[in-house]
């Protein structure tokens, strides 16, 4: 395998492109330069940090540190899930619900993949466990955030309709059926789109990375297919769990719409 090493200059040059975009944004008053630059700075710092964390982690190979990093990743993903919702559940529910769904979906799928499919030695080897968990968490986070955002803002917007359906004797389950279905659709779209475009429009990230690192294309493809399937399972599972739980939480035991539980 041949790995072409990047020099700092390569990164600076690529960064200059983004600076150019920021300048264009400022010139055209698009107002994306601030979020863009903050995003770039965050991305670079976070990735460098994780690079060194992983380096240390690979060297120690201690399961306690792997578990600790996994918990930190979960906590941050949970916070991000909450931050991406325009309206969300009040109190601890707002955080716990999304994070709980992320935990159940991403951790169970990653665990299954590590113990049964990839089976590195030991199974928690950070070289496999951390990137895999990151992929599961990242994609599931997007799906859960999109789904919850849709569910809760639609419930608030269509309050009269929901109350009308309840008034006609429907259960909360029936009264929310349309909104819940639409929320799941919204949440799963990025995953489905990525699958549909994979290989034709875009070469997905895992595969691209492995090919750039010198792996044989067909081996890279097999990894990519495995990862995409796992992502689909994890994102779908987390999404459905979160939408169902939140749909329940929007109502009380008397099937009353409780928008006072929403910010």
């Amino acid at each position: 395998m041949t790995l072409i090493r990047l020099t700092p200059w390569d990164l600076v040059l690529a960064g200059a492109l983004v600076l150019l975009l920021a300048a264009l944004s400022a010139r055209l008053k698009l107002a994306i330069e601030r979020p863009l630059l903050v995003g770039v700075a965050r991305m670079a710092v976070q990735l460098f940090l994780i690079g060194y964390v992983l380096k240390a982690l690979f060297a120690s190979n201690n399961p306690v540190w792997v578990a600790l990093l996994a918990v930190v990743m979960l906590a941050v993903a949970g916070r991000e899930t909450m931050a991406r919702q325009r309206r969300r559940l009040t109190g601890p529910w707002g955080y716990a619900l999304g994070t709980g769904a992320l935990f159940v979906a991403a951790f169970s799928v990653a665990l299954l993949a590590l113990t049964v499919m990839l089976s590195p030695e030991p199974w928690y080897h950070p070289r496999y466990a951390i990137p895999l968990l990151g992929l599961m968490l990242g994609n599931t986070m997007t799906a859960v955030a999109l789904g919850l955002n849709h569910l809760i803002s639609e419930a608030a917007e269509r309050r009269e309709q929901i109350e009308q359906r309840l008034a006609l004797g429907e259960t909360y389950h029936e009264a929310m059926a349309d909104i819940r279905r639409a929320a799941v659709h919204t949440g799963i779209i990025p995953v489905v789109n990525a699958m549909a475009a994979a290989g034709i429009v875009s070469l997905p990230g895992i595969m691209t990375g492995q090919i750039l690192a010198g792996a044989p294309p067909v081996e890279a493809v097999k990894y990519q297919i495995l990862i995409m399937l796992l992502i689909g399972a994890s994102a779908g599972l987390g999404l459905v769990a979160a939408v169902w739980l939140a749909g329940r939480r929007l109502f009380d035991e008397r099937h009353r719409l409780r928008l006072d539980r929403v910010t």
Binding site: E160, E163, R165, L166, L168, G169, E170, R256
Partner: protein, 217 residues
């Protein structure tokens, strides 16, 4: 024959955490209609929603002796049916909102001055008045044992309003369902109701209390 009993009903006014209003006590005998009056924003709609168990509240509400917390909420609401002032529609066609047997109670579209083929219409073409009358028809299609009607004739001309009043009157008479009818129009209340009560923040007062000069809506 069912009778609606409301005892010591209290609920938060408007926003959650706001000061509570009530207690309200009211009995609506079977087969009779009670008119509910009171200025805009006094809480008439919330009062109806509390009886239908759609908002948190305290107190005891019974139909035919059965308390609303003794049966599942959806069952209670099928029996104690609330017609909102502006019924909403979510399926594409009118028919989608009706059960397979659309007029079991004997009230037909013609009784409310609606076209005979109205069930086949798309909801997008319905006028405000048609929505309101179809809302009532949709409610009666579920054969409720008690009616809570929030301004059921607000969007209607005088002639059509009379038709709706007559149709509700016939349903109440035939099924013995107690009815609670909210309206701003004193003359309409006098026509449809056996008696009229006025809602105040602290309780119900017998009779129609003149709210004084008209308030801006």
């Amino acid at each position: 024959m069912p009778r609606l009993d409301v005892h010591a009903l209290t609920f938060a006014a408007g926003a959650p955490g706001a000061q509570g209003q009530g207690p309200y006590d009211l009995t609506v005998e079977a087969g009779t209609c009670v008119g509910l009056a009171g200025p805009s924003g006094i809480g008439k709609t919330l009062f109806l929603k509390a009886i239908a168990d759609l908002i948190p509240h305290h107190g005891d509400v019974r139909l035919d002796g059965i308390g609303h917390h003794e049966i599942p909420a959806p069952v209670w609401r099928r029996r104690v049916a609330l017609l909102p002032a502006t019924p909403t529609w979510w399926h594409d066609t009118v028919r989608g909102h009706f059960p397979a047997e659309p007029f079991p109670a004997g009230v037909t579209p013609a009784d409310l001055g609606l076209a005979g083929d109205v069930l086949g219409w798309g909801v997008a073409r319905l006028s405000a008045g048609e929505r309101q009358r179809l809302g009532l028809l949709r409610l009666l299609a579920r054969e409720p044992a008690c009616l809570l009607l929030d301004e059921p004739t607000a969007n209607l001309d005088a002639r059509t309003a009379r038709k709706v009043e007559a149709a509700v009157g016939r349903y109440v008479e035939k099924t013995g369902a107690p009815a609670l009818w909210v309206a701003h129009d004193a003359a309409a209340l006098m026509r449809v109701a056996n008696r009229v009560v006025t809602l105040t923040p602290t309780g119900l007062v017998e009779g129609l209390i003149d709210p004084g000069p008209e308030e801006p809506a």
